[in-house]
C-alpha cells in the first residue's frame, strides 16, 4: 500500500527514534522531537512503538491512502479531517481506501506525529529511517515531504484485517494527551546545571524566555521576554569568555553564545559545539520543548540528575501502562 502526498504541509518529515551510534562520524541523532507522542500514535494503530511516523510542523499535509488503513495523530492540537469530516487526535481512526486525510493548522502547540498501520517504510540509513535534514539523507531523500511524493507503507495492515467495506470508523475511546504537553504559558522546562557558569549565576532560571523565529529542529533560540531598558537587567553572559575549542554536545544541551541568548539543542543538534554549556534540558521535558513555537514563553526550573532519571522512568512507565491498555482494548474489539 502507499500514501500519495497531495500537499506537503509546512515541514513534514519521516522520523523514528533516531540514529544513535554514529555521532563519531559527525552524524546527529535526528528522530521524532517527541518520542512519547510518536510512540502512542504507533500503539494506537497496532505498530511497534519505534515505527517511523510523520512529524508535522505547524500546518499539516494532505494525503491520499491507496488502501484502507488505521491512522492516529498524537501531539499538538491539529485540525484533522478525513474526507472533510473533522476527527479528534489521540485515537484510532479506520480510513477507507482512497480517502483523503487532511491535516490543517495547529490550534495549540507546534507539532504532531501521524502513524499509519503497517508503518511508513524507507531505506534504513545507519540503522534508522529518520530524516537528517542537515546531512540530507534518511527519510524521503533526506528532505521534508513535497507534493507528489509516494510513501511506501508496510504490510502489517493486512495482518490486522482492516476491511475496506467498513468505511470510516472512529474509535470511541482515546488516550489522554500526555501530561508532558502542558499547554500553559510560560512552559516549565526542567534543566540540570551545566559545567559552565554564567553571570548572573542563576540568570537562566531567574528569567523568562521567549522562543525566537530562527528556531528549528536543531535548536530553540531564546531571548529574554523583558528588555534591558525596562528592567535594567544586564544580558546573561558566560562567566568565562575565553575562546574554547569544540567539545561534544547533545540534544538538551543549553549553550550560551556571547550574545547572551541561550540555545536549547534539539534532536537535530550538531555533534560538537564551542559555546559554553550552561545547562541541560532533561529528556522527560523534550516533548514539551517540541511544542514550543516562535513567540512562546518558557521558564527553566533547576533539577538534579536523579530528578531527571526519575521523570524519565515515570514517563516510560506511563507509556508501558498505555501500551497495555491499548492492547486490552484491541483484544476486546477488532476495530
Amino acid at each position: 500500500m502507499s500514501v500519495l502526498v497531495l500537499a506537503p504541509g509546512a515541514l513534514t518529515t519521516l522520523q523514528d527514534r533516531g540514529r544513535v551510534g554514529s555521532r563519531a562520524l559527525g552524524v546527529g541523532v535526528a528522530g521524532a522531537l517527541d518520542p512519547y507522542s510518536s510512540a502512542i500514535a504507533n500503539l494506537l494503530v497496532g505498530n511497534p512503538v519505534a515505527a517511523a511516523t510523520l512529524e508535522i510542523t505547524l500546518s499539516g499535509p494532505k494525503l491520499r491512502l491507496s488502501q484502507a488503513a488505521r491512522i492516529a495523530l498524537c501531539g499538538g492540537d491539529f485540525d484533522l479531517r478525513i474526507d472533510g469530516t473533522a476527527v479528534a487526535g489521540w485515537r484510532r481512526v479506520t480510513v477507507p481506501a482512497g480517502a483523503t486525510v487532511a491535516i490543517g493548522g495547529c490550534r495549540r502547540c507546534a507539532r504532531a506525529w501521524l502513524a499509519i498501520s503497517g508503518g511508513f517504510r524507507a531505506p534504513r540509513r545507519m540503522d534508522s529511517l529518520s530524516t537528517d535534514l542537515r546531512g540530507g539523507f534518511g527519510g524521503i531523500d533526506g528532505r521534508a515531504l513535497v507534493a507528489g511524493d509516494v510513501l511506501d507503507i508496510g504490510d502489517a495492515g493486512v495482518a490486522m484485517n482492516i476491511r475496506d467495506a467498513d468505511g470510516m470508523d472512529v474509535a470511541r475511546w482515546w488516550i489522554d494527551r500526555s501530561p508532558d504537553l502542558a499547554f500553559g504559558q510560560p512552559a516549565r522546562i526542567h534543566a540540570i546545571a551545566g559545567a559552565d557558569a554564567c553571570v548572573p549565576k542563576d540568570g537562566l532560571f531567574a528569567r523568562e524566555w521567549r522562543v525566537t523565529a530562527d528556531s528549528n529542529r536543531q535548536g530553540l533560540r531564546l531571548e529574554p521576554t523583558t528588555t534591558r531598558a525596562s528592567t535594567g537587567e544586564a544580558p546573561l553572559r558566560p562567566a568565562d569568555l575565553r575562546e574554547r575549542i569544540s567539545e561534544p554536545v547533545a540534544p538538551g544541551t543549553i549553550q550560551l553564545p556571547p550574545d547572551g541568548q541561550p540555545i536549547v539543542l534539539l534532536a537535530d543538534a550538531q555533534t560538537h559545539g564551542g559555546y559554553p554549556r550552561i545547562a541541560h534540558a532533561i529528556q522527560a521535558d523534550w516533548p514539551r520543548l517540541a511544542q514550543l513555537r516562535p513567540g512562546d514563553r518558557l521558564r527553566f526550573e533547576a533539577c538534579s540528575r536523579e530528578d531527571a532519571w526519575q521523570a524519565r522512568r515515570a514517563q516510560a512507565q506511563r507509556l508501558a501502562r498505555i501500551a497495555l491498555a491499548i492492547a486490552a482494548r484491541a483484544a476486546q474489539r477488532p476495530s
Binding site: 544513535v20 551510534g21 554514529s22 555521532r23 563519531a24 562520524l25 559527525g26 552524524v27 546527529g28 540509513r125 545507519m126 537528517d132 542537515r134 546531512g135 540530507g136 539523507f137 534518511g138 540540570i192 551545566g194 559545567a195 530562527d214 528556531s215 528549528n216 536543531q218 535548536g219 533560540r221 575562546e243 574554547r244 575549542i245 569544540s246 567539545e247 561534544p248 554536545v249 547533545a250 538538551g252 544541551t253 549553550q255 553564545p257 540555545i263 539543542l265 543538534a269 550538531q270 555533534t271 560538537h272 559545539g273 564551542g274 559555546y275 554549556r277 541541560h280 532533561i282 529528556q283 540528575r305 536523579e306 531527571a308 532519571w309 524519565r312 516510560a316
Partner: protein, 251 residues
C-alpha cells in the same frame, strides 16, 4: 540555524601551533577530568587546546573503550581534546547510571595506550585554485607566498583527522603549516561546493556536502567524503592520517 554551533577556536588563539610531531611529548600526562554532560553522557577532557598530544590520547582512549563496549555504552564521540561517552540509562538498573559508567571508565585509565598501529594513511587528490579554490590567491597574499608555494606547503604534509563534526563526515585536520593559517571569511559564503578544501585559522578541513561555509577555500576534491549508502559512510575516521595530492583540473 547555522550559527547554532561555532567551529572550534583557532589554535593561534588557544595554543602554540600544533606543528610538532605527536611523538614530541614534553609535558607530563595528567589524568583526564570527567564531568557529566546532561543526564545521559560523560565528558572526558584530556586538555583544552588543539594539540596533537591531547588528540592522540583521545584517539587511543576512544579506540580502547570502543573495543570492549558494554551494553550501556551507546556512543563514543571524540573531539580535539575531549571525548563524550553516551550512556543508555535505561539499560542499567543502577540508581546512578552515570556512576556505573564513570567507574568503568576510571578502571580503564591511565591512558598509557599509544595511537593504534592500525591508523590508516589516505591520499586525497585535490585540484587547487581556479573556480575550485576561489580563496587560493587571497591566502597566498596573506601568507606572503606564491599560490604554487601555498599548494606545495598544503600538499607537502601529513595530517591527522582530529575529529569529525560540524556536518556528517567533515574532518577537522591537525598538522597545517602555520604559514598558511588565515582567519575565516568575515561573511560566510552562501554556498561552498561539495569536496571543497578549506582553511580556518590553524585548521584545515573538507566540506562533504554543498552548503554555506566561512572557511577559506583553496581547492576541491572529487572524492565523496560522506555517503550514507556506503558500508562505511564516512571516507575518514578520527585518527586517520591524510595527505593531499595536487592534481590537474578535469583529470
Amino acid at each position: 540555524m547555522t550559527s547554532g554551533r561555532r567551529p572550534p577556536a583557532s589554535a593561534a588563539a588557544a595554543s602554540p601551533a600544533p606543528s610538532q610531531s605527536p611523538s614530541a611529548r614534553a609535558t607530563p600526562r595528567v589524568a583526564p577530568t570527567i564531568e557529566a554532560l546532561g543526564e545521559q553522557a560523560l565528558l572526558l577532557r584530556f586538555g583544552d587546546t588543539i594539540d596533537p598530544d591531547s588528540n592522540a590520547r583521545v584517539q587511543a582512549f576512544a579506540h580502547r573503550i570502543g573495543a570492549q563496549r558494554p551494553n550501556w555504552l551507546v556512543d563514543i564521540v571524540p573531539a580535539y581534546a575531549s571525548l563524550a561517552v553516551f550512556v543508555d540509562v535505561a539499560v542499567t538498573p543502577a540508581r546512578d547510571p552515570l556512576q556505573v559508567a564513570r567507574d568503568w571508565l576510571q578502571a580503564r585509565l591511565p591512558d598509557d595506550a599509544r595511537v593504534p598501529e592500525t591508523s590508516r594513511l589516505l591520499e586525497i587528490p585535490v585540484h587547487y585554485g581556479g573556480s575550485d579554490g576561489p580563496d587560493l590567491d587571497a591566502l597566498a597574499a596573506h601568507a606572503g607566498l606564491s599560490p604554487d608555494a601555498v599548494i606545495a606547503r598544503h600538499a607537502g604534509r601529513e595530517y591527522t583527522v582530529a575529529m569529525l563534526g560540524f556536518a556528517p563526515g567533515f574532518p577537522y585536520l591537525l598538522g597545517l603549516d602555520p604559514a598558511l593559517a588565515m582567519p575565516r571569511l568575515a561573511t560566510p559564503r552562501r554556498e561552498v561546493a561539495a569536496g571543497s578544501v578549506g582553511i580556518a585559522g590553524m585548521q584545515t578541513g573538507i566540506y562533504p556536502r554543498r552548503g554555506p561555509g566561512g572557511w577559506r577555500i583553496i581547492g576541491r576534491t572529487e572524492l565523496s567524503l560522506f555517503d550514507p549508502l556506503r558500508a562505511a559512510p564516512s571516507l575518514l575516521a578520527a585518527g586517520d592520517r591524510v595527505r593531499f595530492v595536487a592534481i590537474d583540473s578535469a583529470s
